[in-house]
Every structure is written in C-alpha cells, then in structure tokens.
C-alpha cells in the first residue's frame, strides 16, 4: 500500500465518520454563530470599531474554533481504543499525520467560510471584492494552524489536563501565523493590492513549510507509547 | 536627568533574589535526594 493511499484512507475515514455523525461540524458551526454575537456584544454598537477590528476578530474566531476542533483530532482513536491500531500501522507513520492534517484543513476551511459569510452579512463588511487574495491568506494561515494543531493534538491525547495543555502549547507557536494573517487581511480589506502583502505571504508559506515538515518528521515519535 | 538609582537597585535586587533563590532551590533538592537513598538503605 502506497504512502499516499494510507494518508488518503485516514483522511477519508475521518470524512466519512464526520459526514455520518455530523456532531463535530454542527457544534463548530453553531460556535461560529455564537462568536458573532460575542464579538458584537464585546465591542459594542460602534460600527467603526467593529469594522476596524474585523481582521483580528476573524482570525480570533478561527483560532478559538481551532482550539475546540483541532484538540479533538485523535479523540475518536483514543476513545475507541484504536490508538494501538495507529501505532501498529506498517510503514511510514507520517502518512497518518498527513491524512489527519488534510481532514483538519477541510474542517477549518469549512469554519472559515462560515465565519467569513457570517461576518460579511451581519457586520456589513465587503468581503467579496478582495475574496481571492483573502482566500489565499486564509488558506496559508489555516495550514499553519492545522499543521501544529494536528501534531499537538496527537501529543496531548494521552496527557493529563489535555484540554488546558493543548491551547497553552499551541498559542505561542501560532503567534507569527496570527500576526501575518491579521496584518495581511487588514491590508487587503483596506483595498491594498496583493503585492503589498507579499512579505506576509512569504512568511506564512515559509512557516507552513517548516511546521508541516516538523510534523512529518516527528509524528512517529509522538505515536509511540 | 534624574539619577534613577532606585530602578537600578530594583533590577539588580530582583535578579539577586531570583538567582539566589534558584540556587537555594537546587541545593535543597539535591540534599533531599541525597537523604533518600540513605533512608532506603536504613530501611532495607
């Protein structure tokens, strides 16, 4: 069985499970709606202030959803005693990481689309004009978030205080991704061309490359034991 | 420009307290570990 096939099987399995139960996606999507209200109430009725904070709120919403959703990446395996099954898979274990990463990217992208649509509608912000470059920024940021999130999720699955440790470990690593995506989004929403945020895109792409590489290289060490 | 010696002493003072504190912390842990095998030997 090839490497790609193994990764695909993991990805497909998670997709099928989610499509059948829908429990995680429904909860996360509802969480996005709640965030909408939360941000509105926290920042008050001042339209200007909300619009100015929008890039940050968008990414904040995604990170919060990520903390909830990504941390559970390996919960199904743990709860159903499938962890051993993962460990005993023949061949390169990083295929599992890749499959899980793909699944998480799809999940985060779904959350993003919902957030962007909700924000556009309820906060009355034009997110359609810069849609293409915005999508690029969000995609790069998503990979960065999911790459480290998947790795740490596997790690914290068996550790005490998992729900607390996962955010504590993930957030410092995500600082560059957060800064880059928010800065780039802000520039794009102000109408600046993509070329102006090229350095942020390069940073994101570089960071993504580093995070995924480390994930691929170290996943087998996390999977042991 | 005011002399601001208070800030200098505050910074160095905190550093001294922290570093000395850590040194004593290490010393205490080392002593506790040294006492344990002796206790086990006595019991065994």
């Amino acid at each position: 069985m090839t490497y790609a096939r193994r990764a695909w099987i993991v990805f497909y399995k998670d997709l099928v499970i989610e499509r059948r139960s829908k429990e995680q996606t429904n909860a996360l999507l509802f969480f996005c709606v709640l965030l909408l209200f939360l941000f509105q109430f926290a920042l008050g009725p001042d339209r200007e202030r909300l619009a100015a904070a929008l890039p940050g709120l968008l990414w904040l919403g995604l990170i919060l959803a990520g903390l909830l959703g990504l941390g559970r990446s390996f919960l199904a395996e743990r709860e159903n005693d499938c962890w051993e099954g993962l460990r005993l898979t023949p061949g390169d274990k990083s295929a599992i990481y890749l499959g899980k990463l793909a699944g998480n990217c799809v999940l985060m992208t779904a959350v993003e689309i919902v957030l962007v649509v909700l924000f556009g509608v309820f906060y009355n912000v034009d997110l359609w004009t810069p849609a293409a470059p915005l999508a690029l920024v969000l995609a790069l940021g998503t990979v960065g978030l999911a790459a480290v999130g998947t790795l740490f999720a596997a790690m914290t699955t068996h550790v005490r205080a998992r729900e607390l440790l996962f955010p504590v470990l993930l957030l410092p690593v995500q600082v560059p991704v957060l800064l880059a995506t928010v800065s780039a989004t802000q520039a794009l929403l102000l109408g600046q061309p993509l070329a102006d945020v090229a350095h942020w895109l390069k940073l994101l792409a570089g960071a993504d490359l580093v995070y995924v590489t480390i994930g691929l290289l170290t996943f087998e060490f996390v999977l042991e034991g | 420009m005011p002399t601001n010696w208070a800030y200098v002493f505050a910074a160095y003072g905190i550093a001294a307290i922290v570093l000395l504190g850590y040194w004593r912390h290490l010393a205490r842990r080392a002593r506790a570990l040294a006492a344990r095998p002796a206790a086990k030997a006595r019991v065994a």
């Binding site: 600082v175 940073l203 | 910074a11």
Partner: protein, 213 residues
Amino acid sequence: MTRVLGWLAALGLLAGLAAGFGYAPREAVQGNVQRIMYLHVPSVLTAYLAFGLVLLGSIAYLATRRPGWDRLAGSAGEIGVLFTGLTIVSGSIWGKPTWGTWWTWDARLTSTAVLFLAYVGYLLLRSLIDDPDARGRYAAVVGILGAVNIPIVHFSVKWWRALHQPSTILGPEPSPIDPAIGLALFINWVAFTLLFAYFLSRRMEIARLEEQT
C-alpha cells in the same frame, strides 16, 4: 567540576558588578539607569544559549534515546525560562524611566514575551508526564518546534511593529562604541554564562538522581 564552576561564576559575577558599576562610565544620554544593561543583555544571551541547548538535547534524544540528552533539554529549559523572565523584568524596569512606561509592545519585548510563554508551556508539558520516555519524546517535539519558531516569531513581530511605529524609538541600548561599556558588558556576559553552566550542571545532576530512585 560543579564546585569549580560555582566559584568561577561567583568570581565572575563580582567582577561583573565591579565592571558595571565601577569601571564603566556613566552613560551620556540615559544616565546611570543604563547600567541595567549589564544585567539585561547577558540575561537574554544566556536564555538563548539555554534554548539552543534545549534544541540540541531534543534532537539528540529523539536520535539516540539516551536519557542524558533529555536531562540536558529539561534542565536547560528550566534555567532558560528563569533567565528569560529575568530579561523581561529587567527590561521592564529599565524601560520605565527611559520610555516612561513599564511595558510596550515593541518588537524585542514582544518577541521575548512570546519566547517566555512558549517555554513555560514546554515546562508545563514536562511536569504533566510521568513516564520518562514519553516525557522525553513529547518534550523534544515541542522543544524543536519552539526553537525553530524563534526566528519566525522574530520576523513576524518586527514587521508587525513596523506597521504601527515606523521609526524606532530610543531603545534601551546606547551605541556601545565606548570600549569601557563594551568590556563591562563582555565581563558580565562571561559571568552569566559561567553561572548558567553551574546551574545546568547542578540541575542535570538532580535530574539524574531523580531518575535513579
């Protein structure tokens, strides 16, 4: 060996104090507050040394599985957090009279704070795992990621600050053109490095004894 290091460190620190307060001149612009630099800069350099060792120990442990490497990583991490905290506090105290504020989100302070948070998380992870092998492996992964992330954080924060403050403000770092200042700084840096080596030696010994019992 450890005791020798200890005495050398003590001597070095005394020499550093003498150099910082006696030998080095009063700085022209900031006055005597600038002397905090002899504490602040060696602290951050020592912290970087520590985290470099965390990276080394982490990679070596994953490659060899020898517990000694994990002891190095864990000990260096603990001491690194200590010195990073010291860096932030001394920087903050230095900033109050020079910048007028205890804290500012300037690039260097912010990066150092993120560094602090990352490695506190590292220590937290270590404290939550009892099995030495799992602890070593997981900590190594976090340690490697944390170290590799340092330059990424540095650039992202720097560019982020450039958006909000195009001109660099008077940072607490006078140009060390004056050789006396440079020498005093060097002596203090050597002293701090010796102190670090002493702490590391003791901490690793404690870790080794703990694993035996």
